[in-house]
Amino acid sequence: MHFVKWRRVTWEGCSVLLDINDGDRLVFARLSPASTLKIGKKNCSLKPLIGCPFGSLFKVENGKDGLFLLRIFHTEESNNIEEEEDGISEDVSKDNREIVDNNTAQRLTDQDIHAMQRQGATGDEIVEALITHSATFEKKTSFSQAKYRLRKQKKYAPKVLLRRPFARSICEAYFKKYPSRIGFLRLDALSLLLTMANVTAYSDILVVDMVGGLLTGAVAERLGGTGYVCNAYSGATPYPMDIARIFNFSNEICERIVRCCLTDLCPVLNGTCELVNQSKDACNSKTEQKEKLSSCESVSMEQDIVAEDGVPEVIAEKAAPLALKPSKSAKAGEGASDNLINLWKERGFSSLLIAAPELDAWSILQKLLPLLSYSAPFAIYHQYLQPLATCMHHLQIEKLAVGLQISEPWLREYQVLPSRTHPCMQMSAFGGYILSGTRTCTYDAHSH
């Protein structure tokens, strides 16, 4: 068997996450010689990024032919200031009696700066000039000086960090900029879901993913080209899974992501509303239709994720739509074959994961639980507690599962700096709720 290798260096056609100025702006892009990134009003070629290791840092420089990206190396200082938040911790190191300086302290005008840029000054040179011409810089505490420098650097010499689009970075980026697109699924909740559902190689995982494909992608990443993610949907239209396309999945992995209509998987249950039985082919053709739709959509998906809480000096303009090469992962999300569906009906899925904040937990689970193998774990994410409580109660009463638990993850980040260590002043106060458990075998007879 040929196992998936995760490449640590970019290639043409690979999908990347660009982190501009320490998270102020986050952009997903696909690298090609023609693709560009908009910085301010100008475009900047992404070609220099091809062949660089993930984790590389670039500076936007001002050249004769416009902006270009120049690879630089991390310096020790850059580690500190970026983590500092504005706020009360500053009071510790500075003397409160000091008078706050006003904006007249800068003697360099915008015209002066534009002139320097036209004459080919680098961003760093402009920052130094601003410092030299600041009337108050010398009077600031060293901490305030560092903050001033950083602010100017972000404006005149922005940095671009090249990141691997992994479940971690994708979830963090979406949660920071567009949480509603992923149903407010925070990274710690996502990681708990994967753990509680025992996602591992050679497993067949049933997912209901109404969080844009994030869950599907995260599961596929953990399967590493073995087993299957079955992205199940109800009705005629598959749920969008554009985010799964941001992952740099090889063909081996893409083939393991399949879609399936629930009507094809589920035996018709007594007493439910009459099922509109669609043939599998009809179902698949609709999947493909949707497929086309979503690859168009993915142009906009893979654009900028713009800072919403923008620091004023931060470049926050929309990037130009990136030239999208046909992606390697274009095949992710094909309809499941009859063979596979029959296999699952026989063997059952190894785990079930549900992240469908719009749907009632118990309504879904009561239909899907029979598709799960005995002793298989399941985990359901929801934004509201009550639907999970009701669902858990049903499972208990009907003795369908054991090890039932509703958990709420709680995440706190810290600023760790000499004499200025404390939890971050702003926090995400809510990571959703998760109901987890293990299916039991309800029949004593060896009925299968």
């Binding site: 911790s89 407010f184 009705g235 009632d360 509201y384």
Partner: protein, 311 residues
């Protein structure tokens, strides 16, 4: 803001009068303090409001502008004041304020020392807690800030309960005249450990000190200093999480997926289930749901409490 006798307490009969301080409530996150003035007007995005229309109305009334916009006029309380005061410094918020006053055992009649005054947010709540017979002595080294605070206490009519002093407590300690007089001492200083020995001298035996510090290093240093003259040294963090409430409407129709996956929270019962037909909810009904607000203040500061040793 605080009644000086029973007749001043808020009541169904109390009417807004010329010269009253009212809190103008637009929304829960938009309020301001206004001193009612017979000829005055308030202008905001909802229009122009004449103060003369307010006079004679009960506190809590909804009043209208010339273009039918409305606001509520509320009687000031320390909590509302905290939301409208001008932030000359970082202020303490509800959760910390409440806990500090409870944990320092501040009750009517207590003498409390506070440093620094800052924007006077905590001071206002301390005054409420010591009223009617106690007193709060609050210090700030910043002359201008102390002057603003005094103005605020005039406006909120707390001057009889609060005295604002200008002093560098961290450098010089508390004034000697407070020796052994304080029931409680509250410190909000960058280097609280410098003021702790003096604070200890001001406290009565078994009196309580509280130090508020954002950084753990300040707490570590303070606790080391506290060990020599204090007992019951305990450090806490208090936060508040707020919840959003909304009404969720449900669809009860069986869609083309056979009612397979219906939106939350139309609860249908499994046909197999037997004896509990309890939480049936009628179709097309509305349900109130609540979830935590997404963002919250993640940290304000650590509260370190200690009792002055009882010798």
């Amino acid at each position: 803001m605080l009644p000086g006798d029973p007749s001043q307490a808020i009541s169904l009969q109390r009417r807004i009068r010329d010269g009253d301080l009212v809190i103008v409530y637009e929304r829960h996150d938009n309020m301001k303090a206004v001193k009612v003035n017979e000829g005055g007007v308030l202008q905001n995005r909802f229009g122009v409001f004449k103060h003369s229309d307010w006079i004679g109305k009960p506190f809590g009334s909804k009043v209208f502008s010339h273009k039918k916009g409305f606001i509520y006029l509320l009687a000031p309380t320390p909590e509302l004041w905290t939301l409208v005061l001008s932030h000359r410094t970082q202020i303490l918020y509800l959760a910390d304020i409440s806990f500090v006053i409870m944990y320092m055992e501040i009750v009517p009649g207590c003498v409390v020392l506070e440093c620094g005054t800052g924007s006077g947010s905590l001071t206002t709540s301390l005054a409420r807690a010591v009223a009617p017979s106690g007193h709060v002595y609050t210090f700030d080294f910043h002359e201008q800030r102390a002057a603003y605070a005094r103005e605020d206490f005039e406006l909120t009519q707390l001057s009889s309960l609060v005295t604002v002093g200008v002093a560098d407590i961290q450098g010089d300690g508390f004034p000697a005249k407070f020796l052994g007089t304080a029931d409680s001492v509250f410190l909000d200083l960058p280097q609280p450990w410098l003021a702790i020995p003096s604070a200890g001298k001001m406290l009565k035996p078994d009196g309580i000190l509280c130090s508020f510090s954002p950084c753990i290093e300040q707490v570590q240093h303070s606790c080391e200093t506290l060990k020599s003259k204090f007992t019951d040294i305990r450090t806490f963090e208090v936060l508040l999480r707020t919840y959003e409430v909304k009404e969720a409407r449900t669809e009860a129709s069986c869609g083309d997926d056979g009612g397979f996956l219906r939106p939350l929270p139309c609860k249908r019962r499994p046909q197999s289930a037997g004896d509990h037909d309890a939480d049936e909810v009628s179709s097309d009904s509305a349900v109130v749901v609540a979830k935590p607000a997404a963002e919250a203040r993640g940290h304000t500061g650590y509260l370190t409490f200690a009792r002055h040793q009882c010798l």
